[in-house]
């Protein structure tokens, strides 16, 4: 059974508690290494790091509101096929959900991994974060001020990433350790198994009184914001010309796919010879159509990607953040994703046991699709 506890014996405040927790997990040999963001050289950002010495977590930045890499990609790199050591991974909810999807796709092995999920207070785009820090702002402190009341708002004159502004899934689930910030007074509390709390020697506490209602009200606000954004999208994208207009600036650089945690294929269809058209094929297509947009197949690329992974899209927004043309990739995937996920009654990242929609079927279903 999971119990609530307070991290004891470390610096005050949520950041101190988290650093302390990681050091304690390493010292107690619950894990041999932790994946956690650390201050990047130069100080204008953070980078994910794999750390094995307890003293190295002293400059960890586990709460920096920025996601330079979708952590599930790293969990996959570190665990696919099984890691020879015990890994602890500090992740946001969308990173945990993507890790679970990757485990189902056999691209990660979560068996020996201690997932340390942290309430997500939203993230800024990487360049925006650097500008804020350079200007002397403290984005972590700002985010933590509102956390107890569940007011998660960006710094003045700054914006959270669009995916975060409409994110309902900011509370981690399915992890061995949960670090709760929202609706919690006086820093962070952790929730973990009784045995682990005992092993770490933490003080057990009562469940935070106002957490549930605080989470519920923030979730309701986000849900309304998501509805509004997706309705606006649907009213804009009604037919093929309006879809083409949204993606008019796409140069098929594949950045969205490279950043996406779910797009794992080593041999993506779009990087195979299938899309290396021979010069004669361009000439043929030209004769048929009179003129050709180049690079070719931009819409086919997005539709195929939707077809391959929209059922598993966790709405993390990594695709949009990576797009050099600032296209609304994650809005497209959020809008289509919720419909296809509803079609199969599937919630990506909810549980390891739930089968991927295309890995299974029922004999008595979808009779309206074929007769």
């Amino acid at each position: 059974m999971d119990v609530w506890a307070r991290v004891t014996g470390h610096e005050e405040g949520a950041v101190g508690a988290l650093r302390g927790l990681l050091a304690d997990l390493l010292r107690a040999r619950v894990v041999d290494a932790v994946l956690v963001p650390r201050l990047a050289p130069g100080g204008s950002g953070v980078v994910p790091a794999l750390v094995s010495r307890p003293e190295d977590v002293a400059d960890a930045e586990p709460l920096a509101p920025v996601m330079p890499v979708q952590g599930a990609r790293l969990v996959s790199a570190l665990t696919a096929g099984g890691a020879p050591y015990r890994l602890g991974a500090v992740l946001r909810s969308c990173e945990i959900r993507a890790s679970i999807e990757l485990a189902k796709l056999k691209q990660a092995d979560l068996a020996g991994v201690t997932l340390i999920g942290v309430d997500c207070l939203g993230t800024y785009e990487v360049p925006d974060y650097a500008v804020l820090v350079a200007g002397g702002a403290d984005p972590v402190a700002h985010a933590l001020v509102g956390a107890p009341q569940g007011t998660v708002s960006p710094l003045p004159r700054a914006e959270l990433r669009p995916a975060c502004a409409i994110c309902e899934g900011f509370v981690p689930s399915g992890c061995q350790v949960t670090v709760a910030l929202i609706g919690v007074e006086g820093g962070a509390l952790v929730m973990a198994s009784e045995e682990l709390v005992e092993e770490l020697g933490y003080e057990r506490v009562a469940a935070p009184q106002h957490r549930e209602e605080t989470l519920a009200s923030l979730q309701a606000a986000r849900r309304a914001e998501r509805r509004r954004a997706l309705e606006e999208w649907r009213s804009r994208v009604r037919d093929v010309p309006s879809l083409l207009a949204e993606f008019g600036r796409c140069i098929r650089c594949h950045n969205c796919m490279v950043a996406c945690p779910i797009c794992y294929c080593k041999e993506c269809l779009f990087r195979t010879a299938t899309f290396d058209h021979a010069p004669a094929e361009y000439w043929q297509a030209l004769q048929r159509r009179g003129a050709l947009r180049l690079p070719a197949d931009t819409l086919l690329f997005h539709l195929t990607r939707l077809n391959h992974m929209a059922t598993s899209c966790v709405s993390c927004g990594a695709c949009s953040s990576a797009c050099p043309s600032h296209l609304p990739v994650s809005t497209l995937f959020a809008a289509v994703g919720e419909e296809v996920q509803a079609l199969f009654g599937y919630v990506p990242g909810r549980s390891l046991e739930e089968e991927l929609p295309l890995a299974t079927f029922r004999e008595d279903e979808l009779s309206q699709v074929a007769r």
């Binding site: 083409l244 009179g290 086919l300 004999e363």
Partner: protein, 141 residues
């Protein structure tokens, strides 16, 4: 323009059932419109939806997929898997501004030559009523 429009339909047919059904329709001299280009597959479950998308983006006015009746697939469950894939594809098409009703999935067996001819006639009429694909002649997709 309306008179000049002849629908172009790409049909992906399972070798063991609908393809043989189409063959039977041919040998029995059953009439159906000549608007259908047939591509043979070993099973409806072998169809990669990317090819359906490619056909639509190249300006096909309709795509037909024919497989064995439920329970009759030669590879046990290829047609059930195809049904999930087509359901997914049609939902994506609907959500991205395409007309999902330009894609048909039907179960037609090797002995149902008449049903094949009827279904083709029906589909060509339905697509004719819809008009040409909005992708026809576009220079940039």
């Amino acid at each position: 323009m309306a008179e000049a429009f002849e629908p172009r339909i790409v049909a992906f047919l399972c070798n063991w059932c609908t393809y043989a059904g189409a063959d039977l329709a041919g040998t029995a001299r059953l009439q159906y419109p000549p608007n259908v280009r047939i591509i043979r597959l070993m099973c409806s479950g072998a169809l990669d939806p990317a090819y359906v998308l490619k056909a639509l983006l190249e300006g096909a006015d309709g795509v037909f997929i024919g497989g064995c009746h439920p329970g009759d697939c030669h590879y046990q469950n290829g047609n059930y898997k195809a049904r999930r894939r087509v359901a997914l594809l049609k939902k994506i098409l609907e959500q991205t501004g395409f007309d999902p009703d330009r894609v048909w999935l039907r179960w037609i067996s090797a002995s149902e030559g008449r049903l094949f001819a009827q279904t083709m006639t029906e589909m060509v009429a339905a697509i004719r009523a819809k008009g040409p694909s909005p992708l026809r002649g576009r220079w940039g997709t």
